[in-house]
């Protein structure tokens, strides 16, 4: 009765059947690492203290790049809903005896699945490139779970927001405008790319409240340290907890808005 299964499988089919999106998805992680890794590599000169003990900058920014990849894909999660409305497909869903929320949640889940694939490719890419990712202190199953949880929570937070917006937006350019407005602030007012020590005071203060920072810091902590100390574990717990609370609230919002407000 829910329609979630067939709708999510439709989204994924549309994604993996598009050779361009598949190819760009494969190339993008290498671009990101190569560009960010080289552009900001001078930061390494400030020494390992500034990089929280990371052996190189790639290892340091991995948490940031993973989070940003999740964020950017999530920002576009509502676009397909707007096109479904424009192309008339939404009309077919709305006359079917399915839950209205399944239309929106299919986009949320499909985007999350895409993000998961991108995360896998990016980690592989980071390990493959020269002077890339190094797990100096090992990488446990728990670390992997924390890493995935952090990216997934960021994905759920932003897919919820942007699919909910798309519930009532009828023009693609409107949502593109919103995406352009928020993507760079979310990226730069966060600890995704730079250590707090290199940021202006006010920026660093603001970045503390950005969920992008929470995810980036949580991943960074497990990637650099491997096995965590009690205090590190506490910090990671706080970050993930914050992400989980935010994700829950926003998923509930997406549910209620889509059940009641979605129309052609």
């Amino acid at each position: 009765m829910s329609g979630l299964g067939p709708l999510t499988s439709r989204e994924l089919k549309k994604w993996y059947r598009n050779p361009v999106s598949l190819l760009t998805g494969l190339i993008q992680p290498f671009f990101w690492l190569a560009l960010f890794g080289s552009a900001f590599s001078k930061i390494s000169a400030f020494g390992p203290t500034l990089l929280d003990g990371a052996p190189n900058y790639i290892t340091y920014i991995l948490g940031g790049v993973l989070t940003i990849i999740g964020l950017f894909t999530a920002l576009f999660s509502g676009v397909n809903l707007i096109f479904d409305r424009r192309l008339g497909v939404l009309g077919r869903f709305l006359i079917a005896p399915i839950r209205r929320s399944s239309i929106v949640f299919s986009k949320i889940f499909a985007s999350s699945a895409r993000i998961l694939v991108q995360v896998g490719i990016l980690i592989l890419a980071a390990l493959l490139i020269p002077n890339g990712l190094e797990f100096k202190h090992g990488f446990t199953v728990l670390d992997a779970l924390i890493l995935i949880a952090a990216v997934m929570l960021v994905a759920l937070i932003f897919t919820s927001i942007f699919t909910t917006l798309a519930v009532r937006i009828t023009r693609p350019d409107t949502i593109f405008g919103v995406i352009n407005l928020v993507n760079l602030p979310l990226l730069f007012v966060s600890y995704a790319m730079f250590p707090p020590g290199l940021m202006a005071g006010w920026l660093s203060d603001a970045a503390k409240y950005n969920p992008v920072s929470w995810s980036a810091e949580a991943i960074r902590t497990v990637v650099i340290n491997g096995t965590l100390t009690a205090s590190q574990m506490h910090s990671v717990g706080v970050w993930l907890g914050g992400l989980a609370i935010l994700a829950t609230i926003l998923l509930l919002m997406a549910y209620f808005v889509s059940e009641n407000e979605i129309r052609e």
């Binding site: 067939p6 089919k13 549309k14 192309l87 008339g88 497909v89 009309g91 079917a96 005896p97």
Partner: protein, 330 residues
């Protein structure tokens, strides 16, 4: 026969002032093809949208297949199939995948769905292209796919909202053939709206003419036309004298000269009157050179009731319309 759809003072007011539907009371019987005919903004699509639970009524209600559209919309949706005015199939999926997805929306068991989809595809001659992406379909093929997309869950009622809008004449006639075949083979009740009079005339058993949200007349095409009281019979005679004699034909409501030796007779029903006229002609040994029967068309009926000729439908949503036409043209 029992009514499968019954509206009870169904009313829809948009934005607190525009009365799109005004205390509508119609009853549609099981197994019939029922046509809703009306000028632009008459309330046809509003009626359909209410009956398929796409929008909620301001007051009143309707019973569809035993379920109340207000209280039990989910059950209503399960028992109906809809072919909306707009194209609703996904271009990035194949024809088969589209139908498969729709069958999943209605929880049709996989095996049953497969069998049914194949049957429907062959009914509208799409089995050869079922695995092709819908973006590669022609306009006519897409419309046929839309038609059967409303049927994969074996609904008791099928709503067709302007099923041939934007199609060329040949494709339109072909669509009619498929609609008739569906009605016969699948035993569904069909509710059809159209602004093509000949389409309603060709497909519907019973027609309601609506305007300003109210039903003006209901009946079979024949009933509506005979209500107009009068077919026209035109006859050209060999001599003036013969023409004069024919003018005195007793069964005519009205007889007029219609050019040299030509007579125009208005009769109640030409089918019944024509043999009598022929008898009258031979009984009086008249010589006739030409005999024509002019039946009133649905256009005349429409004109009579609404006071206007049917206008070509201005799309309410021109952006959507352009997009549909653009895609159909491929």
């Amino acid at each position: 026969m029992a009514a499968i759809i019954e509206t009870r003072n169904l009313t829809k007011i948009y934005g607190g002032k525009v009365k799109a539907l005004d205390d509508l009371n119609i009853s549609i019987e099981e197994g019939e093809v029922y046509g809703l005919l009306g000028p632009n903004g008459a309330g046809k699509t509003t009626t359909i949208n209410l009956l398929v639970t796409r929008i909620a009524p301001t007051s009143g209600t309707a019973i569809v297949n035993g379920f109340d559209i207000v209280k039990n919309s989910l059950e209503v949706r399960k028992s109906i199939g809809v072919v909306p005015q707009d194209l609703t199939t996904d271009e990035d999926l194949s024809g088969f995948e589209n139908l498969k997805m729709v069958s999943q929306f209605y929880d049709v068991p996989a095996e049953e769905a497969k069998e049914r989809i194949h049957k429907l595809l062959s009914m509208v001659s799409l089995d050869d292209v079922k695995d092709r992406l819908v973006r590669q379909y022609s306009g006519g093929m897409r419309k046929r796919l839309e038609l059967i997309a409303g049927l994969v869950h074996d609904p008791k009622i099928l709503f067709l909202d302007e099923p041939t809008l934007g199609l060329d004449v040949t494709t339109r006639t072909q669509m009619w053939k498929y609609v008739r075949e569906i009605q016969e083979k699948l035993d569904v009740t069909i509710i059809l709206t159209s602004h093509y009079l000949e389409e309603v005339d060709a497909l519907a058993n019973r027609i309601s003419i609506i305007d300003h949200g109210k039903v003006l007349a209901t009946g079979t095409s024949e009933e509506l036309k005979s209500n107009l009281k009068g077919d026209i019979i035109l006859a050209t005679m060999k001599t003036d004298k013969d023409a004069e004699t024919l003018m005195k034909y007793p069964g005519a409501i009205e007889a007029k000269e219609n050019g040299p030796r030509a007579v125009r007779l208005k009769v109640q029903n030409s089918d019944e009157e024509l043999p009598k006229i022929i008898q009258y002609i031979s009984g009086n040994s008249l010589s006739i050179t030409r005999l024509t029967v002019q039946k009133p068309t649905l256009d005349d009926v429409f004109l009579e009731y609404t006071g206007s000729e049917i206008r070509s439908e201005e799309p309410t949503d021109s952006r959507q319309e352009m997009m549909n036409l653009r895609r159909l043209r491929r």
